[in-house]
């Protein structure tokens, strides 16, 4: 108990130090006022996190609703509506709430509101869409007006990062009661901006909340416009119809970077896009064949020629911003080397056949591959590129490209009848548990979880279970490092790239910091120099 209390103290101290450093930057002559116009591809499903966990809604509500904790751009936990916390038991964390915080409707934010938010999400019918992201979180209990306990069903290591997720915003119970189903289109939280108007498929408008507890927003208003067509979004930026473009066209980024009128904000994201290998299906149940496939892929060529600077290398199965991440040294362990690939295949008993494809016992080395096109940046193109690279080492890949909904149904089903699949995985709560447990624990085979590779290793199972139940963050980190060391030897993925978060703005947009988590589009400090 004392051990993990100490570890948490270290964690808190680290977080506070990081916060101080972050705020110690050079002071700029900030200007107040103006309207920031943002163009982005799609309209939200809803502005209530209970109904919407995807980016189009999150971009907007992240500025209106605040959780107990938040993740800063350096992926460190920072206080938000909570000022401090104390671990009471392995399943209970006590939070002190910030006093004198008001919701946009003037009602006070207090422990009852926190409990209301979590009850509504976790115990409502149906439960919130983020309930599945919340792991063992079971609810909140009121201690006094400004003290609340967050309770988990079992010891849950990622609890703090889970509470810091973008979709954990505390909502006004009064507004939920008053608005009913309409709350979904006009949410009321405590954030620096409050809701003004939503015209479906046209725009959402938010404006400065004058009674915000912290530094008031500098912008008067923000308009989120929908412009589905990539080219039209870029033209809107250039004609001045927009100040900020989300999902800018990668092909136009080099020109924007050179132009002093624009700024391209970019950082490494937390989604890894990969070609998955079905380790439960012959011939991919042979680790040598899987390793050969890794050697057969020129990942740098894919990054340079297909991604054109719009993505970063994938160093492992996790992205660098995620807690517990370890550089798996894939480029050193599995360099692009066709001779090595062929040698490994030969070791596994595969010899070249008359048509150039490897054969063993009359069986050709032919792999069926399921992929969608357009779900992740350039997913179709990278699938085709790898298919061609496989051919150079005598491996045939038969790619079946389907619409995402159909691919989703198959990969989420059991049994899965393809050798390979193209997928992307975002570690939503920025904690390794979220990926290493759901993707590699042997009991997490779909439909229970996302172990689509059907990977099974008893040691990995033990490690991820232990790390999930521990609240000692440094111990957890070590356990995750070991998991990644094992995975590096038994690769069941060909990690292709780590997404980059890219936002293009006019240079007049200041004070904006891009966040590794796509959803955390924070405009509380943004201002316009015009």
């Amino acid at each position: 108990m004392t051990r993990f209390r100490n570890a948490l103290l270290v964690l808190i101290a680290g977080a506070v130090a990081a916060g101080l450093l972050a705020s110690a930057g050079p002071a700029e002559a900030q200007k107040r006022g103006g309207t920031l116009t943002i163009v982005r591809p799609t309209d939200p499903v809803s502005l209530d996190p209970n109904l919407e966990t995807t980016a189009p809604g999150a971009w907007v509500y992240f500025n209106m609703l605040e959780g107990l904790l938040t993740l800063d751009a350096k992926m460190q936990i920072q206080p938000s509506l909570a000022t401090s916390y104390e671990v009471m038991s392995p399943t209970r964390v006590r939070f002190k709430l910030r006093p004198n915080v008001k919701f946009h409707d003037g009602t006070p934010m207090n422990a009852a509101a926190v409990k209301f938010t979590y009850d509504r999400a976790l115990k409502g019918t149906p439960p919130a869409r983020w309930a599945s992201l919340a792991g063992s979180l079971s609810g909140a209990e009121v201690v006094d007006d400004l003290t609340v306990d967050i309770v988990t069903r079992e010891p849950y290591g990622p609890v703090l990062r889970t509470l810091a997720m973008y979709c954990m915003g505390i909502v006004s119970p009064t507004a939920v009661g008053k608005l009913g189903a309409d709350f979904s289109r006009a949410p009321v939280g405590t954030g620096p901006f409050k809701f003004v108007e939503w015209k479906t498929n046209t725009h959402v408008i938010i404006e400065r909340f004058p009674d915000y507890w912290g530094d008031k927003a500098l912008l008067d208003r923000v308009i989120f416009k929908v412009v589905p067509e990539e080219g039209a979004r870029m033209i809107a930026l250039q004609t001045g119809d927009a100040d900020m473009v989300l999902f800018p066209s990668p092909a136009l980024l080099p020109a924007l970077r050179r132009d002093p009128k624009f700024t391209v904000h970019e950082t490494t994201g937390i989604r890894v896009v990969f070609a998955g290998l079905h380790a439960g299906m012959a011939p991919l149940d042979d680790v040598r064949v899987r390793q050969a496939l890794l050697h057969a892929v020129d990942r740098k060529a894919i990054l340079d020629n297909i991604m054109e600077g719009s993505a970063g290398p994938a160093m492992g199965v996790l992205a660098p911003g995620v807690f517990g991440y370890k550089d798996m040294q894939l480029d050193r362990a599995y360099p692009f080397d066709r001779a090595k690939a062929k040698a490994l295949l030969a070791q596994a008993g595969w010899t070249p056949g008359s048509d150039g494809i490897m054969q063993k016992g009359g069986q050709r080395l032919s792999l069926s591959w399921l992929a969608a096109r357009g779900r992740y940046p350039k997913d179709g193109e990278i699938t085709e590129a790898i298919q061609a690279m496989f051919k150079d080492v005598g491996v045939e890949a038969k790619v079946q490209v389907l619409e995402w909904a159909a691919v989703f149904q198959q990969v989420r089903g059991n049994p899965f009848n393809h050798h390979m699949f193209t997928l992307g995985w975002v570690t939503s709560n920025a904690d390794a548990d979220y990926s290493l447990y759901a993707l590699f624990h042997s009991k997490q085979v779909p439909p229970a979880g996302w172990n689509t590779s059907r990977y099974a290793n008893a040691r990995v199972d033990t490690l991820v279970e232990q790390a999930r139940r521990s609240l000692n963050q440094s111990e957890r980190e070590k356990l995750y490092f070991e998991v990644q060391d094992i995975l590096a030897k038994e690769m069941v993925w060909i990690p292709v790239y780590t997404t980059k978060e890219i936002v293009a703005t006019k240079t007049a947009v200041k004070g904006f910091t891009i966040h590794p988590v796509e959803y955390n589009l924070w405009l509380g400090k943004a201002w316009l120099d015009k």
Binding site: L51, S132, S184, E229, I235, F408, S428
Partner: protein, 307 residues
């Protein structure tokens, strides 16, 4: 006349029931599950099961069909699965914009198409005819997303005369309406040209000319009126197509219309919203066809006598 109207409207009922059934069956048959898509990659099987149960998606399709038809009869189109919002509200948001764009495009198609076709027919070997024929070929063959982007680059980016996209003012309407209308203008122009040319060869036109009727009247009263029925039929068909088929134009110009709504709903497998949108679309189609049939009667009294 009234009997004709009532009979036609009664006939629309089985058509609409059939449309709803086919849409439901199609969504049922294509792979992909609304709830799984909605809850995303990270949903637990329990969460998916709970929501499926809550939304009543576990019931057999026929049961859902009967329930749906019963609700529609009471004027309730249900709630969108994804947005958890009444489908009527969703449609009410996009319907005005769709109507505005369709009417504008149809007007452009009718006015420009008929005029161009008429001039081409009256002077069939002139330079105008040659230009109009090449132009209509161009209008028919260019994909709308390309035409749309070219118009944006020229009129919004280079000349800064018109906004890049969005809706709200007449200026916002110009580029999407023109883009959407172009293929229809081409079709109407071609149809007008060939119909008017055919009529101009008829004996009664020769007779009219022989009687000394002015050429202007020959063309407008005799030729155009008689050539109007196929043109009207085409415009009726185009109206339906423009209404639901504007998805590319809506995408390029960020126009908040029905086409984008339907496509988004299909990708999300939000069958309640798809059904509602298609139903409204089908009703509009039926009404347009009815209006076209009534117009036949006005143009050609023989039709209403038969009706």
């Amino acid at each position: 006349m009234l009997t004709f109207l009532v009979r036609r409207l009664m006939l629309a009922v089985p058509v609409l029931l059939g449309v709803v059934f086919v849409v439901m069956l199609t969504v049922e048959l294509i792979p992909g599950d609304a709830v799984a898509l909605m809850l995303g990659e990270h949903a637990t099987p329990e969460a998916v099961a709970k929501l499926r149960d809550y939304l009543g998606l576990d019931k057999p399709m026929l049961v859902r069909y009967v329930e749906y038809v019963g609700r529609v009869a009471r004027g309730d189109l249900g709630r969108s699965i994804q947005q958890n919002r009444p489908v009527l509200d969703e449609l009410a948001d996009v319907w005005p914009a769709t109507l505005e764009l369709t009417v504008a495009a149809l007007l452009i198609a009718a006015v420009v198409g008929v005029l161009a076709g008429l001039v081409s027919a009256v002077w069939p070997t002139s330079l105008f005819d040659a230009v109009a024929r090449i132009g209509s070929l161009f209008g028919l063959s260019m994909p709308v997303f390309w035409t749309g982007l070219v118009l944006i680059v020229v009129f919004a980016f280079w000349l800064s005369w018109l906004p890049v996209g969005g809706a709200g003012t007449p200026a916002h309407l110009v580029l999407p309406a023109v883009t959407l209308a172009l293929p229809s203008v081409a079709m109407v122009a071609r149809m007008t040209r060939s119909s008017v040319l055919d009529v101009l060869r008829e004996d009664y036109v020769r007779t009219a000319r022989a009687k000394g009727v002015a050429e202007r009247l020959v063309v407008s009263k005799h030729a155009l009126r008689n050539a109007a029925i196929p043109i009207l039929t085409l415009l009726g068909l185009q109206a339906g197509q423009l209404m639901g088929g504007a998805v590319l134009t809506e995408t390029v110009f960020a126009w908040p219309g029905l086409g984008r709504l339907i496509v988004k709903a299909i990708f999300a497998r939000d069958y309640v919203l798809v059904q509602g949108a298609v139903l409204v679309f089908a009703v509009a189609f039926v009404l347009i066809n009815l209006a076209v049939d009534l117009a036949y009667g006005v143009l050609d009294p023989r039709v209403s006598r038969q009706g």
